[in-house]
Amino acid sequence: MQRPEFDIQISKTGRVTVEVKGAPGPRCYELADLIKEIIGREEERRPTVEYYAPDSKVRIDAKVRDSSGG
């Protein structure tokens, strides 16, 4: 399982952009809060696709039943 990572960019004007990777679900918000505490004021936050990924893996088995009755 991939370990969580921060991808941080500090612009020449001082603006900090943080991307939290490898932490699906609300866990990523906890990690983003950590950086916010260090830096200061949050201007914007947006989840990405992985935010909505489940924490555990789900396996789905599908069967097609022949309902022709023959």
Binding site: F6, I10, S11, P24, I39
Partner: protein, 149 residues
């Protein structure tokens, strides 16, 4: 990718910490540190004053007299602290317009904030035993860090 946050640094620090960020920023922009103050020069030259946004210099035993002066060509930048505690940036020069001087002041202030944010992040991340696996300065002068938890 889970989430993206955009943050503005709140620059609250003692003067020595802020001075370190100022020296780092000024040096990277080609400024050199001057030992003397500017009082007489200011009266003769064009001058623009601004401050570092969201900044507060925490008062220490030395009081409000701290100043740092850096120079690049005929442009001089003086950093100080005003009555509110904000870090001020005063840009002086004679051959540039007020607009150009203001732009220099804003650029320098931005780089000071960048240095401050970088050092604060590095300190706090190392305290938490996180590993910086990649660090580089990009073409647009932004700093990129990749940190593994």
């Amino acid at each position: 990718m889970s989430a993206v946050c955009i943050l503005t640094p709140i620059v609250v620090a003692s003067w020595p910490v802020l001075a370190s960020a100022i020296f780092g920023a000024a040096t990277s922009m080609g400024f050199t540190v001057r030992a003397e103050s500017l009082h007489q020069e200011k009266r003769r030259k064009r001058q623009v004053e601004t401050d570092i946004p969201n900044s507060e210099v925490v008062a220490d035993a030395l009081g409000r007299g701290e100043r740092i002066v850096v120079q690049r060509g005929e442009v001089t930048v003086e950093f100080g602290r005003d009555e509110r505690g904000a870090c001020t940036v005063c840009v002086t020069g004679d051959q540039l317009s007020e607009r150009e001087l203001r732009k220099i002041g804003e650029d320098v202030a931005g780089r000071v904030v960048q240095q401050f944010a970088y050092h604060k992040l590095m300190t706090e991340l190392k305290k938490r035993n996180y590993t910086v696996v990649e660090e580089q300065v990009l073409e647009d002068q932004s700093v990129h860090l990749r940190v593994r938890l």
